[in-house]
């Protein structure tokens, strides 16, 4: 089954809903959970980049670690990097031999959903990851994330 799960986050409230699902999935599968947060291209010097990454790691830890500890889950890794998010996640998925990647369709702004909606309204990151991930991608649709779906 899925022993290594990768969850990509942009630290929004919407991501927290996806995280709750991922955490329960990881717990029920006895899987190791990777939490990835990408900073994008920073165009800074090495020291400033390292400082930004450290600050972001603390932010991610503050957002998710208490929740994991409260539910008795300890098998996790936090990974923060600069650079383009999609190639960095694909690289991580390949290097860590991830079995499953979990993400929302778009976690920045509410998305319009309807059966007649244009097909290309999935988020850009989600679409690119689905196309380039070396493993299956579990997409949590907007309907399951409170406030994300508009009609």
């Amino acid at each position: 089954m899925y022993k290594k799960i990768l969850f990509g986050t942009c630290l929004t409230d919407y991501c927290m809903h996806v995280f709750n699902f991922t955490l329960n999935l990881a717990k029920s599968s006895n899987a190791k959970l990777w939490i990835y947060h990408g900073l994008g291209r920073l165009r800074l010097g090495p020291e400033e980049t390292a400082a930004k990454i450290k600050a972001a790691e603390e932010q991610v830890a503050a957002a998710y670690v208490p929740k994991m500890k409260a539910s008795g889950f300890s098998d996790f890794m936090i990974n923060v990097s600069d650079g383009d998010v999609v190639p960095e996640m694909v690289k991580l998925a390949r290097n860590a031999r991830i079995d499953l990647l979990v993400m929302g369709t778009s976690t920045h702004t509410p998305v319009s959903v309807s059966e007649g909606a244009p097909a290309n309204t999935l988020g850009l990151t989600a679409t690119q990851l689905i196309l380039s991930a070396p493993c299956p991608v579990l997409v949590i649709p907007p309907a399951l994330i409170p406030g994300l779906a508009t009609r």
């Binding site: 329960n24 999935l122 070396p134 649709p141 399951l144």
Partner: protein
């Protein structure tokens, strides 16, 4: 708040009989076995009578005849697939319906209380990397959708 209950009772595998659809079979089987889930295999035949007659009027009887043939062949192929690959699963059912693929898949999810959808990111139609049916289902489904990488090389796993 939306939570994963730890149980998946019914899994939907939309299958257009393409190579890509078949490539997600390992994920279908692993999820079905892990959660003891029923596997519902769905083939949606496009409704030919609903197409605009761009190239002139056509005989609806003839279109229906082609669709009946397609449904019969799809049933046979799904039967082969299920017998060959899903025999070890808790239970499986195959379904063939006619209509718009994305719409029928979404309707099926609601009608059959599906808990998870496992499908390929692209189908048989067109030469696109990301299929429009997969995108519409991922965007509109009321349940998580697992999209397989299709032709990606997973031999390293």
């Amino acid at each position: 708040m939306f939570q994963f209950s730890g149980k998946l009772k019914r899994l939907l595998w939309p299958n257009d009989l393409s190579k890509c659809s078949e490539s997600v079979l390992p994920f279908v089987i692993s999820v079905a076995k892990k959660y003891d889930a029923e596997v519902h295999v769905l083939y949606v035949a496009e409704d030919l009578t609903q197409h605009e007659p761009w190239y002139g009027d056509f005989d609806p009887g003839h279109a229906r005849h082609i669709m009946e043939w397609e449904k019969k062949k799809a049933q046979e192929r799904l039967q082969q697939l299920c017998r060959k690959y899903l025999a070890d699963c808790a239970a499986y059912a195959k379904h063939v319906v006619v209509g718009n693929p994305a719409r029928e898949i979404l309707k099926f999810i609601n009608d059959h209380d599906i808990d998870i959808v496992v499908m390929c990111r692209k189908g048989a139609g067109g030469d696109f990397k990301m299929g429009s049916v997969a995108q519409r289902v991922a965007l509109n489904a009321p349940v998580p959708v697992m999209l397989g990488p299709g032709d990606s090389d997973m031999s390293w796993r």
